[in-house]
Amino acid sequence: MSDHTADGLRELVATFLRTHDPRGDRTGFLRARFDAGLAWVHFPPGRGGLGAPAHLQAVVDDAFAEAGAPDNRPRRNSIGLGMAAPTLLRHASEAQCRRWLRPLWTGEEVWCQLFSEPEAGSDLASVRTRAVPDGADWVVDGQKVWTSLAHLARWAILLARTDPDAPKHHGLTYFVCDMAAPGVRVRPLRQATGEAEFNEVFLTGVRIPDSHRVGQVGHGWAVARTTLMNERVAIGGRPLPREGGMVGVLARLWRDRPDLRTGGLHEEVLHAWVRAEAARLAALRLRQLVAAGQPGPEGSAVKLSFAELSQRISGLEVELRGAEGLRHDDWTMRRPAEPDLLGRTATYRYLRARGNSIEGGTSEILRTIIAERVLGLPAEPRVDR
């Protein structure tokens, strides 16, 4: 199919742009782009895509960006785009996809994720939130935590226990929860940085129609694995240029401030630079593998290294700043949609980076996954099944 080449796609975008003004109504433009299959080209036709290879998305995005077209503010709806959408695509019904995918992609409806619970932690399958059938509805009670975007979200993907007597991985069901429904209470969760990116969500007698169930009853863990797999894949953004991430902040500071330099910190800066550049090349190689249709497990390595590097580099920056490193900008509680890693002080970066090895799968869990799934090492003796 000729559409499935870079040139074919560029041509499709050009055709689309001839009949749709990129400077006109934002929502209308995005809806039309979705309907034309130019939203996520690897999705099937009718669901915002063309069934094209995923790596060609960049071609389409570039062409739209060149034309000055509006984007769908992807960072404001990262859970929806990165995790909910691929899960819906794989497990939801036709009607569900029709209802949810378009406003999700256009950004009209923001999504959040109700998986984590205070007691569950890394052991996600041990969720205690209950969903009990009641007529055509389910009634949900429980508490979720670490929910980013909950205060902005219209919908949530929700994992709840529907059979408390089944083995822990088999009693779960996957739902889409209306965040505007009665009984949903969102409370900001303040973190070490002083701000509250995340929320606690209390669910009290929340009614979810059975039509909002995704996948079969009791198959929630399988559906959730699709979500989690997508969480762990390093997606989004372009390949970073050299010094593109936090190491760039450090390198520029080093260049701009000869007064801060010492021989000892010089070595640490160089070590950090080397590790960051190695991690960047590994991420680039991962992209090349994906683009060549040979996706490998290197995404786990990328996430592990990112967490370690962001922590090490920000910690080093605080020390390099010396007296300035003792000063913070502001402890008052804020409600950012996403962390402002490059805009605030080094101390903010340092504190926020501590979360990188916890959120989206702790570094410990990632190492175990690598050891078992990549290296084929045997699982530990399990006592919980």
Binding site: P118, R190, L265, G322, L326, D329, Y350, R354, S363
Partner: protein
Amino acid sequence: MTDLLYDSDEEALRGSVRALLAAHAPWQRVLAAVDTGEPYDAALWRRLVDQVGVTGLAVPAEHGGAGAGYREVAVVLEELGRAVAPVPFLGAVVATRALLACDGSALLRQVAAAERDVALAVGFATAPDAAFDAVTVGPGPTLCGRVVGVADTAPGGLLLVPTGDGLYAVDAAEPAVRTTPVVSLDATRPLVDIDFTAAPARRLATGEPAATAVTAALTAGAALLASEQLGVAQWCLDTTVAYVRQRHQFGRPVGSFQAVKHRLADLWVELTEARAVARHAADRLGDTGTEAALAAALAQAYCGPVAVRAAEVCVQLHGGLGFTWEHPAHLYLKRAKSTAIAFGTADRHRAALARLVDLPGPGTVDGVTDRCTGR
């Protein structure tokens, strides 16, 4: 030979400080104070002064002190670190050390009796080998200049101000002294910037004696801070061990997972060494000569990073909980990271050690070329 143990008096002192802090400075109270913007706990400080006599511990009896010593001061600091207690004890000890070195007898008596708070007006990040040119001396004498990031100052307290030509005492209440609070990384240890605009001052010492007094004070700060860091690290280890023993995941206590166990075992090893290093530094402060400087540099080269690692492990092994504002781990993380800069970063102290133990750096960049020719 250096004595690295705690004697029974020291253990008794630890017991009374710990009991006082447990009763009056639980972490919930410390955290609440951070949110009010009034981080120092004046009532707690008063109790420590009145009931334990902390300000006089290292002041000889002839100057009105308890004549104990820096080993006892270090024990108190371990406990204050363990509680991230918001009191200006470390600053008082450092300033008192400067007074001791330059014969501020009358002042010493006031300070030992805690009639006056006292602080050395230098940035908290200042290393013992720093130079001082931020404040200049005018006629009177009066002082002009700006010192930023000073810890442990009190509104009506006394400021000891090092300048290029001597050490001066200034009353912080003077109108010509303006103190501006800083948003500090460690909110339990507030910092201020201080502007002197022709502030009337009293000269305490000049020339070499002044420089010696300031160096001695900052060396004491670096040496003793290690005990505070040890206390911080010990709290982090103890709290994490307790947490992973009761927290279950995958049907097992988290503390039964081998990677968790080994990480905590490694941390315990580091703490075992940090304790020896911190005790050594406190013990050697009585020495003259380079032994005190060497022990202090070792203490900050070693103990600062240990405390930071301990706090980082504490946050990590508490999972999401350790990243919340409501859990005290972040207070310890911020304290640990701040102290890793206080009195000079570890790399700076390694550089000091290089001079003290004769391990010089390469003379020139070209000096290393030969080895690569294989000759």
